[in-house]
């Protein structure tokens, strides 16, 4: 099998080589399609670079695999569960719009305009987050706009590696400010039971306006923890099935793509602070376990706060970073009129990450 494919591979490889040298020989074509070709080529072929300085062998783990692992984890964490809960007609078009607008339109045109050499893999991860943090019944154009904003914002700041705050969350913040009505509506009751074809396609058509957190704000009602954990309570498209999110995040932590310190300190501090406040204030604030299992906390703590670029680099500072996220989340949820605070908490701590990092480094090296 492998042997018989070898000649085919060779032919393909040769043609790709030819295409590459053709593109490089014509500056105008290179200007328009160079980076697109690079991106496609680098997906299916290895690189040409060899190590020129010591050490002369390098590990075969690169950024592409790193981002690929996050994509796989997200697919198992929210895409498959939400296809079950809301039907594929709700999930797949959103994902497609997000990828097409974010990566293939904005990122490619940015690469052309700014004359970047390549298209970054990080765009896929950001675009995968966008539908997950919007309500299930939000219009498609909102997803597209969100993806465009996220990628544009990231590129303006200098691309992957330079983004100050999580681009996906930033664009969600932008959408919240511009279209507040759209982001509190469109929550759907998830489908439960053995799915038939209709359910797999559309899910249930019951629209609700309340996520468990808003419901709690309004009348103090708490759904069963079990339904929150399995994802049968309403919420944003990708945040509901906490079980799947936790499992895939554990896999990410095991292969060291996500750092375990941040989720541990984030969830731990949410638990501690909400316990503290509910001991003092009683029923007026949400109890700890409900806080842990509701809203975007699990998705945020395991996937967004752990985004290595926007968190701190120093390992000790990561504890502070996570604890800060948790504290702000609880403050917003308990003492403001906003039902959910994860987005604000992570964005705020992203901004604070730089001073925390430099302080931690100063303390560690005594300078």
């Amino acid at each position: 099998m492998k042997k018989s494919l070898k000649p085919l591979e060779d032919i393909l490889s040769k043609n790709l080589d030819r295409a590459e040298s053709f593109i490089h020989a014509h500056p105008k074509i290179n200007f328009l399609f160079g980076s697109l070709f690079e991106a496609f080529d680098s997906l299916i072929r290895s690189t040409r670079e060899t190590a020129q300085t010591q050490p002369f062998i390098r590990n075969n783990y690169d950024v592409k695999r790193f981002m690929g692992a996050v994509l796989v984890a997200l697919a198992f964490g929210w895409v498959f569960p939400s296809i079950y809960f809301y039907g594929w007609q709700c999930v797949l078009p959103k994902l497609m719009v997000s990828f097409i607008v974010g990566v293939f339109i904005v990122d490619v045109s940015w690469a052309i305009i700014a004359r970047e050499g390549h298209i970054s893999e990080g765009g896929f991860v950001s675009c995968m987050f966008i539908p997950a943090i919007l309500p299930p019944q939000s219009p498609l154009w909102l997803t597209g706009l969100g993806a465009a904003l996220a990628i544009l914002f990231r590129n303006i700041l200098g691309g992957v590696g330079n983004n100050l705050v999580n681009p996906a969350l930033f664009s969600r913040l932008f959408l919240t400010i511009c279209f507040p009505a759209l982001l509190v509506a469109g929550y759907q009751i998830p489908f439960v039971g053995i799915p038939d074809l209709h359910a797999l396609r559309y899910g249930l058509d019951t629209i609700t306006h309340a996520t468990p957190l808003t419901a709690f704000k309004v009348n103090g009602e708490i759904p069963s923890y079990f339904s929150l954990f399995l994802g049968t309570a309403s919420g944003s498209l990708g945040e509901t099935c906490r079980l799947a999110l936790i499992l895939s995040a554990l896999w990410l932590i095991k292969i060291k793509v996500a750092n375990w310190r941040i989720p541990v300190s984030y969830l731990g501090s949410v638990f501690i602070f909400s316990l503290f406040f509910s001991l003092i204030l009683g029923k007026a604030v949400a109890p700890p376990l409900f806080q842990l299992l509701s809203g975007g906390l699990i998705l945020g703590a395991f996937f967004m706060a752990t985004d290595p670029i926007t968190a701190t680099y120093n390992q000790t500072a990561k504890w502070v970073f996570g604890a800060g996220c948790g504290f702000i989340t609880v403050l917003i949820r308990d003492f403001t009129t906003l039902p959910e605070g994860v987005m604000y908490a992570i964005l705020l701590m992203n901004l604070l990450a730089t001073p925390i990092q430099s302080l931690a480094v100063k303390m560690r090296y005594r300078i």
């Binding site: 290895s46 690189t47 060899t50 002369f56 390549h118 990080g122 330079n162 060291k256 680099y313």
Partner: protein, 346 residues
């Protein structure tokens, strides 16, 4: 007196022996230089030797494996060591570091050590760079030495297996030692071999007929991690040459690299493009001396090379693991060296 099979170590490091499997064939071939070979000379240090560490724990897969010297000869090897002790270092403590996985050697050595007061056996993890002098003295003796410092300053002598045998042959028996064992391996060779080479033979002659015909290759003396690349193959082999690695220069693209990692692994390819640092923490979790190499990188690209020295840069033992692991393929080791060199000038 002997220590229980102890597992002590350091944080970080990388297990090369299991990642890059290099199998050597059992037959040891001879290569002669064709001219008068050089003679191995060992000058016994004139300073007082308090500790002798015998390093039987190679941590790179392409290094000369222990069995080539010790196979079925552990006891006679230890006897030789004993005689060297009596003759030259009567007051010194001997520490023998053996790879934790080599159960038989450890058992034999422990058995021997139970009657020999003067030596202790240490079973160490086969993690690179366990055999670096800085880590070896830290793990075994608990003493800190600086990178690049001569261990003899503290009265510590580090020997490898082959040097011990050669000292015995030349200094005690009075024989002439004019050849040594060398491991040659890599994807640029037809076969991985262990050869007995006369000192003074050129690398060219050793690799003759042994390299693959097609495609380019690059030659590294003492391994691609810590060793040097040599372009001039007429260089002569001396006692410090432990191994020669010939790697295929993989400078063309390969289809579907995800499916055939084996084909690319042991080559000079970087397996990815140069990207910006993504703060993934791979480099600081692999660093054997707990540094944070990304800090140096960021000082460097901000144009503040002098700042790198503030972050304990002088502790870096230049093992190269940070460059090896970095998914963004940054040249961290080169940056470390550049920043260090700047520090010396100031």
């Amino acid at each position: 007196m002997w220590k229980e099979k102890e597992t002590i170590g350091f944080h970080g490091g990388f297990n090369f022996l299991d990642t890059y499997l290099v199998k050597f064939c059992n037959i040891i071939e001879e290569v002669s230089s064709g001219s008068t070979p050089e003679i191995f000379k060992y000058s016994i240090p004139d300073r007082e030797v308090k500790y002798v560490i015998v390093n039987l724990c190679p941590t790179e897969s392409w290094e000369l494996p222990n069995w080539a010297i010790l196979e079925n000869k552990t006891l006679s090897f230890l006897d030789k060591l004993g005689e060297i002790r009596v003759r030259y270092f009567p007051k010194a403590h001997f520490f023998i570091a053996i790879n934790k996985k080599e159960d038989r050697t450890i058992a034999e050595a422990m058995n021997y050590a139970s009657n020999a007061e003067w030596m202790k056996i240490f079973a160490l993890d086969q993690k690179y760079p366990q055999d670096d002098p800085v880590l070896l003295t830290k793990v075994i003796l608990g003493t800190d030495i600086n990178f690049g410092q001569d261990t003899m300053d503290l009265g510590i002598l580090i020997l490898d297996a082959q040097t011990v045998s050669a000292i015995y042959e030349s200094c005690i028996l009075g024989n002439k030692v004019n050849s040594r064992l060398i491991a040659i391996s890599g994807t640029g060779l037809k076969e991985n071999e262990i050869i007995n080479v006369q000192l003074g033979t050129s690398v060219d002659k050793v690799l003759h007929y042994r390299t693959v015909e097609a495609g380019g290759y690059r030659v590294f003396v003492n391994g691609p991690l810590r060793g040097k690349e040599i372009s001039d193959l007429s260089q002569k082999i001396d006692w410090s040459t432990n191994n020669i690695v010939v790697l295929k220069e993989q400078d063309s693209k390969v289809m579907f690299p995800m499916l055939k990692s084996g084909e690319l692994t042991f080559t000079t390819n970087t397996h990815g493009e140069l990207r910006q640092c993504i703060y993934c923490n791979f480099c600081d979790s692999i660093c054997p001396v707990d540094l944070e190499p990304a800090l140096y990188y960021h000082s460097y690209i901000r144009g503040e090379k002098h700042k790198a020295r503030l972050y304990n840069l002088e502790k870096c033992i230049e093992c190269g693991l940070c460059s090896f692991i970095c998914p963004s393929k940054l040249e961290l080791l080169r940056i470390n060296r550049e920043c260090k060199a700047l520090g010396k000038k100031l």
